[in-house]
């Protein structure tokens, strides 16, 4: 009898029939950017690691363990939870790529640990992560929106905040070490993660904005209120988490400027205006330089000279340019 029940046909994905060009654009970007931790010569940081003081090493391991937790959540819960919400089959495929890369990120931290650290130090940090109330709290705030039955667009808001805001209290530290010429290979690996998370936050934020377009004014206003309220709550936890980690080396205020700057960028990914004023977002220039090394800082309007900004050799597809 079962065989006679009417069925909707199962549909194969056709990448040659796109409903949203952005899906293919992001798929191509993510697949071209694919990497594995084995490609980064982490062992070159062994000597540098030995120059860190014991409390600096403990801080670094804890920060990376906190990042591992967020990547684990996004890998196993966040990205899969958004797949049933996908508007196009291609969006689902992109989310499956995002899920897998989050697993690669989580796995990378263990590569750093096995290269640089002693097993008991790492085990202690994983216990610390389970017991740290602020880390657990920020993870729970996001998970609340990932659970079944919650609003698909709220899930995207939470996901963008995880990708584009919550990681940054952690990403700060390897950028800081790199600006002091320490753990520079580890920083190279972290930059690969940062690059991926930037595409993830951009794409999920883009899909959020497409979703908003289908709603009326009142629903849109309610979601915007929700987004600002959630980032306030997350910021509150982040500020405590940051103080607990960084007070010991006197960097809390510096990290907070970085948090404000990234919270504003996360809101921009959702199409919203900034929350923190410019004076609260004055990120240490050494950290900005560590984020985008070799990307020259001079330009015409900033008055840093009238010379043309011409970079090093850049890859361009000459076949596209006729002249």
């Amino acid at each position: 009898m079962k065989d006679h029940a009417p069925r909707t046909p199962l549909r194969a994905i056709n990448w040659n029939r796109l409903e949203d060009e952005k899906d293919l654009e992001v798929w191509n970007r993510l697949t071209v950017n694919f990497w594995l931790p084995e490609k980064v010569p982490l062992s070159n940081d062994v000597q540098s690691w030995a120059t860190l003081r014991p409390e600096e090493r403990e801080l670094t391991i804890r920060v990376f363990t906190g990042l591992t937790l967020l990547d684990t959540i996004q890998n196993t819960l966040g990205a899969p939870a958004m797949m049933p919400d996908a508007i196009t089959p291609h969006e689902e495929a992109v989310l499956s790529n995002i899920a897998f890369m989050e697993a690669v990120h989580a796995r990378s931290y263990s590569s750093i640990f096995s290269t640089l650290c002693l097993t008991p130090e790492v085990d202690a940090a994983f216990r610390w992560a389970e017991e740290n109330p602020h880390l657990q709290q920020k993870a729970r705030l996001v998970l609340e929106e990932y659970k079944a039955g919650s609003d698909p667009l709220k899930r995207k808001i939470a996901s963008v905040f995880l990708e584009s805001f919550l990681f940054y209290s952690g990403f700060y530290l390897p950028m800081y070490w790199s600006s002091r010429a320490k753990l520079t290979n580890t920083a190279d690996l972290i930059r690969l993660i940062i690059r991926d998370e930037a595409v993830h936050g951009y794409y999920i934020g883009y899909k959020y904005q497409r979703g908003l377009e289908r709603l009326g004014e009142a629903e849109r206003a309610a979601l915007k209120d929700f987004a600002f309220s959630l980032i306030f709550d997350l910021y509150d936890v982040e500020a405590k988490y940051t103080a607990e980690l960084y007070d010991g080396i006197g960097l809390t205020e510096d990290v907070k400027a970085f948090l404000h700057y990234n919270a504003n960028k996360a809101l921009q990914n959702l199409g919203y205006e900034a929350l923190f004023p410019p004076q609260a977002c004055e990120v240490n220039p050494a950290i900005l330089a560590a984020l985008s090394p070799d990307s020259e800082n001079h330009d015409f309007f900033s008055g840093s000279g009238s010379s043309y900004v011409i970079g090093k050799a850049v890859a361009t597809e000459d076949e596209d340019w006729d002249f």
């Binding site: 071209v32 690059r195 990307s295 015409f300 043309y308 900004v309 361009t316 340019w321």
Partner: protein, 138 residues
Amino acid sequence: MGGLVYYSSASGNTARFVARLGLAAGRIPVSPCDPLPEAATPYVLICPTYADGTGRGAVPKQVIRFLNDPARRAGLRGVIAAGNRNFGATYALAGRVISDKCNVPVLYRFELAGTDLDISRVQAGLEKFWGTECLTMA
């Protein structure tokens, strides 16, 4: 003052930046089927970056199409590039590529849809830039 031309994909970051600038600007369409805007001469181009990890594909195809016309290219005086520092060395790379190809300066760089500070800097910068342009043309 000279003109302004910009490209913004469906995500709309650059479009939001241009809207807040409050200056008249022509938009290069996302679809290759739509007509390209007439560029006032001279003009400044605002362009986002879409590079992969190695820097390929930094300049959107539609912008390349726009610049491949010698008449339009002749009016280009400078480029303002958008991007995201999280892309590391390729941050706002479209600016450098266009600068190299068209021999015009990178005037400014900003992230995503820009901050209030970026808006006031670009407003002031463009005013000053066109002032200098007029002097050199005279």
